[in-house]
Symmetry: C2
Subunit: 122 residues, 2 copies
């Protein structure tokens, strides 16, 4: 149940274990529409996705700036987004870098992500 500790290749050429890795995500074919819909049915998570929409860069704290919600609750939202397949999370030292999982979503549900992001543009 706890995050796997698998190190992804890259940056360990001298045999050192890097802290750069990805948290576990569902395989593309395992992404379920109902789970994606559920992840996108919460206003806070929708706002996070909106902020991520224009190739945003930064860590979780920056991403959730001005959202007055406890950090543990935000951590929960990040997990829902990640486990549903909506986002991908890369660990970089202390930071988590989150981005929209466009490749998988576009493959699995063509047009859905674009329609959602367009609806969030208002």
């Amino acid at each position: 149940m706890q995050p796997s500790d698998v190190r992804y290749p890259g940056g360990d050429e001298k045999g050192q274990v890097t802290t750069m890795r990805e948290l576990p995500h569902p395989a593309t074919e395992d992404i379920r529409l109902s789970a994606v819909m559920h992840a996108l049915s919460d206003e806070v998570r929708l706002e996070l996705v909106r902020r991520l929409s224009n190739d945003w860069e930064g860590n979780c704290t920056l991403l959730s700036e001005d959202i007055e919600i406890h950090k543990s609750t935000l951590s929960h939202h990040y997990r829902v987004l990640r486990e549903s397949g909506v986002t991908r999370t890369r660990v970089d030292g202390r930071d988590r870098h989150i981005r929209i999982n466009r490749e998988a979503l576009d493959e699995r549900f063509p047009g859905l992500l674009d329609a959602v992001l367009k609806s969030l543009d208002d």
Copy 2:
């Protein structure tokens, strides 16, 4: 809270009040993305929407054929779909005729419905 009793025109040319009417639905501009997503985050409701996708015609009982769920639960799902703006419900005597609220959805969230229906086609 109870269904409005507004009679729609049609079939009352002799002055008789018809039972043909629509249940209350949200105005197009009041349809919220989070509510639509929530309505579509349940497998049973997704199946109902899938069945409605090809201009399906019939009453609720026919629509939910082979779905082994209590009729009161189905009634609940119909309400969630209707109140979120995903479907429109017309009352015809004892029957309810449900259809996808394409006009409103396409106006409010262009491309979203098509992407969802396409994803359900598998």
